[in-house]
Symmetry: C2
Subunit: 431 residues, 2 copies
């Protein structure tokens, strides 16, 4: 007999896993709304040229491509930024800027499977479009930190590592690196910590044959503070934006989380300014989130000149971190009430009573075939029911029902006519 | 300049559309939970043979297929039932049956574009596995009716049309149709109302050349009640289950919605018993939902013998119906509070106050670059803010803030120290 499994790199999501996924997604949504962000979505596949146009070679290699029955070249979305840029470009001047938008897209990248990586995964994407000032970068950084705080993570658990593509560009050009070498250099630097130093050196010498420039690059990567840069060259233009962002984060009350990290480069080709990542303090995981400015992308997709800044948090690494810190929720009751009948011949009666509870907003279950009390109790356990309501027995003949609190074992007799009111009052408020 | 659009058959989902999608999805989730259903999900693509194995030719023709970089033959999911059957099969005896599961999958079918149809769409899928009795069918019918009621639809707007594959099989075999003709006959009958009568007759004569059998089939399709069938042949086995279902729906208090409709067949190959559809009263739309028993599928995917019944509601036709009936929600405030500053030089101050509100759970926005009061008010309007909080003006120097209710225009002065408490009390409760 053939066995059927989920395709390599994908995961089934059974109800126990779904509780965790929903817990994280609900927290993300709540925090985004606290910052006035609106939700959007885009198709799960796009015309291939949307990605080949600007995301860079790295992404292209990882695309799941398909051809539809009319020969259209499509690709499953590997990231959300091209889609939002396309959507903004399409609306043109009819859209009131700035917009604060978020989405929780399912994404696909054909990558080597390893810890913290699956080929099908989710991200929280947050973008502010229409603001060129670093106030938007700081607002988005604050939001990204708050999504983590809402899940119970603190400055003991993660930091936000901030740098600037503009700053690196200024430093590298100043050191003699040619403009056309920058994209490959960024891509190499983004992968620096994922490869042996000897490999890094080999590739670097291929890209930049000049020994002295190589050494300057390495010196630049050794810089640990903005003040150190200022002491080398205080006239760099990128410094002002970085200063603003760090000062704003202080006003947001989030300085504890923020550090300057010249090693943050981001792999994608379209970044144009400040870039940042959220990284766990132990640095034992891949980066939790990454983002930055991409001021050119909307225009590249045929839209108006639209400054933009965006950030994405992946679900896989974040879930690992939350598991490690013991911050994932315990299993909660699935049903408020499980109705158990002594009169197993009368399914009609059970249905009538259950439906009365459901109509009043109570989450309610019952056995769907005749069985003894013991087996019904087992089903109530499996349903993680908060309360069991016993019907069809002697109590009911006297106009009463018995209920049992499944956590404490406490039992109570109540008037039949009061049942929905009493049960509703016993239930925990819906979150 | 190249323009970029969403691929044919797909839709962008801008925030205004997303409010509607989320409204429907949230209602679906709430109702499913009321019936004790747990949420699950599966990968968005599966190995192709999962569909070629059992869904039938119709679905195969509509598959979006892809080949991954290791040569795996994959297909975007066109329906959810094969995935849930596979997941149940995988768990085998470790899974406590029955299960009540729901999911809101994104699905893909390469179909001809027409009203009520897109190539990328969503469904609410609800399944009960592990119960062979028609009590499960009735429970699922009740849930499907309640999902519609929760959205404001009544028995004036839609009905549940119930039939049985087993009944049709008995009637057809009894009339001389050969067993091997049944699948193509079901597929034809499922499309009967979507084609001209002459086309139907032509195809029917191809499948069933015998004139007398053709006529009997047409007579069967003209039957309007279960009693009529009973008067022809009261010994048909399928009648008992249908009787139970109709009687149970009465106990659920849902008889007003239910009607017997021998014309309901369902196109998919795997149905084995009772089948039903939700159809709008005017019959001006495609069917809103469809489902039925599929007792063989889990076993076919290598699992244990598992009776199952399932139903899917599509989002496209349902949204059309809700639009037609004026039942979609109005635009609600995006932000609770928009902070407007008189002192446009001090973004720091704005950030501090906004962050205080956010930290207390208030959804809050402010302008991200310096601008006059008029422009800030315009942004507050665009954000559909419920309340505007004015800061940095004369009032603040006296230790007070002014707030304005954006709906009524009413203004109020409050003590600076009370601001979060007062604002929280003014806000509508979170739904």
């Amino acid at each position: 007999m053939q066995t059927f499994v989920p395709p390599k790199g994908t995961r089934d999501c059974y109800p126990d896993d779904m509780i965790i996924r929903d817990y994280i997604f609900n927290s993300w949504e709540k925090t985004c709304k606290r910052y006035g962000f609106e939700k959007y979505d885009a198709p799960i596949f796009e015309y291939m040229q949307l990605y080949t146009h600007k995301s860079g070679e790295e992404i292209e290699k990882q695309l799941y491509t398909l051809v539809d029955k009319s020969g259209r070249q499509l690709a499953l979305r590997p990231e959300m930024t091209p889609s939002i840029a396309r959507m903004i470009a399409t609306k043109g001047p009819s859209l009131k800027l700035p917009v604060r938008w978020y989405s929780i897209p399912r994404l696909f990248r054909y990558e080597k499977m390893q810890r913290g990586r699956t080929r099908e995964f989710f991200q929280l994407n947050m973008d502010i479009l229409g603001i060129s000032q670093p106030t938007a970068d700081a607002e988005l950084m604050a939001l990204s930190i708050d999504t983590m705080r809402d899940l119970g993570l603190t400055s003991q658990d993660f930091s936000i590592h901030i740098s600037s593509r503009t700053l690196l560009e200024e430093l590298f050009l100043f050191s003699g690196v040619k403009t056309e070498k920058l994209p490959m250099l960024y891509s190499l630097l983004d992968k620096q910590h994922k490869m042996p130093e000897s490999d890094f050196n080999t590739i670097l010498s291929e890209y930049i044959p000049e020994k002295d420039i190589q050494n300057t690059i390495k010196k630049i990567l050794g810089i640990t503070s903005i003040d150190e840069i200022r002491s080398i060259n205080s006239s760099l233009k990128a410094l002002a934006d970085l200063d603003t962002v760090f000062s704003l984060l202080e006003n947001y009350g989030l300085s504890d989380f923020a550090e300057f990290d010249i090693g943050i480069v981001r792999g994608l080709a379209y970044y144009t300014g400040i870039v940042w990542e959220l990284i766990d303090k132990n640095r034992s995981l891949r980066s939790i989130a990454g983002g930055g400015r991409y001021n050119q992308l909307v225009k590249l997709y045929g839209g108006m000149d639209t400054p933009a800044v965006g950030l994405a948090i992946g679900d896989v690494v974040l879930t690992e971190l939350l598991t490690e810190k013991g911050l994932l929720p315990k299993m909660t009751p699935r049903s408020d009430v499980f109705v158990i009948t002594f009169d197993k011949k009368s399914h009609d009666h059970t249905v009538k009573i259950a439906q009365k509870l459901r109509n009043s907003g109570i989450n309610c279950e019952f056995a769907l075939k005749p069985m003894g009390i013991g087996k019904q109790m087992k089903q109530a356990d499996a349903a993680r029911a908060g309360i069991v309501l016993f019907i069809g027995g002697e109590e009911e003949q006297e106009g009463k029902f018995k209920i049992r609190n499944m956590k404490t074992g406490e039992e109570k007799i109540l008037e039949k006519k009061d049942v929905t009111t009493v049960l509703k009052n016993l239930l925990p408020p819906r979150s």
